[in-house]
Symmetry: C2
Subunit: 128 residues, 2 copies
């Protein structure tokens, strides 16, 4: 399998796959012409990475999760720990965005949005 096939089958852009090789997440062997050749195992890892990234895990988290996945001696507590840490980060981000959203939506409501220059949004940003 060349990179294009893997890209199609994993849903990851070829550029991303090369990048993942660069940072050591996958190690596809090379064939005589220098092309990367992917086996099912690499495809599987890339699909794993794609799903983990889709859940918002950082690359470093992905590296950890992949290592745990391949470690038969792992304890599910280790995995859960990584996931819980990530969940907390997500919750923080949601809270921050919702706080911004609240302020912003309020300001937008107050703003006439007409042809006149008076604008409560700018007034707020200017500190009244």
């Amino acid at each position: 399998m060349n990179i294009g096939d893997v890209s199609r089958r994993s849903g990851l852009p070829a550029k991303t796959i090369r990048y993942y090789e660069d940072i050591g997440l996958v190690q596809p062997p090379r064939s005589g012409n220098g092309y990367r050749t992917f086996r099912e195992i690499e495809l599987h890892k890339l699909a794993f990475l794609g799903r983990a990234r889709a859940l918002g895990f950082t690359i470093e988290d992905c590296r950890t999760l992949l290592a745990l996945y391949e470690d038969d001696g792992r304890e599910s507590a280790q995995v859960k720990n990584v996931a819980e840490g990530h969940l907390r980060k997500i919750d923080q981000k949601i809270a921050q965005l919702q706080s911004m959203r609240g302020t912003l939506a309020h300001l937008i409501e107050e703003c006439a949005g007409d042809h006149l220059p008076d604008c409560p949004i700018l007034e707020d940003l200017a500190g009244e």
Copy 2:
């Protein structure tokens, strides 16, 4: 006012203030020794930027908002338009995060988090 004073009064790190000068958001004049000298107007702009950034506006949005703020001929509709665009982006991010959160929280619930290797989180990432 030197950069340290402005940093204290605006709450922005000195590094950030220099960066904002770099990208043309403020233009503090220089005194004989090469130091930036800030007047009230620059401090005011920086505080404006700090508030806009705290609401999550991008630097480019900030640039636009600052220009509108300084333009007496503006129409509040222009400001509202920028704010509404930003609100939509925030809503998209919140939705995405909440979707991730949902999946992740579900997986975490399923995971025993004990000393055994069996882990539904990893199973899900591996595609079952």
